[in-house]
Symmetry: C2
Subunit: 101 residues, 2 copies
DNA sequence: CGTGTAAGGAATTCTGACACG
DNA sequence: CGTGTAAGGAATTCTGACACG
């Protein structure tokens, strides 16, 4: 449904306007592996609305004094937890209904 | 809520990809007063997701052989009808509850 | 009428680097 | 570490025009 938000369609200038961050900051957060824009054939970045939300969160943390490295670690931890929950749920289902074959 | 769709944030190249229309066609439909992108200070166009939907409708009509002039007339007619309904509703409300003062 | 295209210029974006603190 | 900035080049976009049918 709301694929708008995850579609990579925004230029860095638009993202800069919407987040009030400088293009330098946006590119730096990418360098630190916090966001992952796509690229056109020509090499220009393309962001999504989800990226904008994420950038705003990042900016708030940076303002609090949290370092990008730690933000990255936290992010990775969340991913691992999600992975764990996903597997857990899958295990539950398999236990109850068995594997498809 | 869904302000995403009306926000003018897309470049013409992205719109071209999403609509499968050429940039030439997109600019031409603007020339014919069918769509109204915003402009940056520098003069580059900015479109919304709503514009994309509108462009797809336009393209379908053009394929059917309808001329842009007629599409424009139909569009204006709709606007007048909406205006009429709006005033009608307002009149109903005023008749029941009187004017604010 | 609707669309393609080559042309020349301007706006936008990119990278790597130096600076500061 | 996080961010600003000047530098040079490449990608993107713009307009007005000519072409075709």
């Amino acid at each position: 449904m709301e694929e708008y938000k995850s579609k990579k369609v925004l230029t860095i200038s638009v993202v800069s306007e919407l987040t009030y961050l400088s293009e330098r900051q946006i590119r730096y957060y990418e360098e630190r592996k916090l966001i992952f824009p796509e690229r056109t054939k020509g090499g220009t970045r393309r962001y999504s609305f989800d990226d904008i939300e994420k950038l705003i969160e990042i900016a708030q943390k940076v303002e609090k004094g949290i370092q990008t490295f730690d933000i990255r670690q936290e992010e990775k931890k969340k991913e691992r937890e999600n992975e764990w929950h996903r597997k857990m749920l899958q295990g539950q289902l398999n236990a109850q209904f068995g594997y498809k074959r």
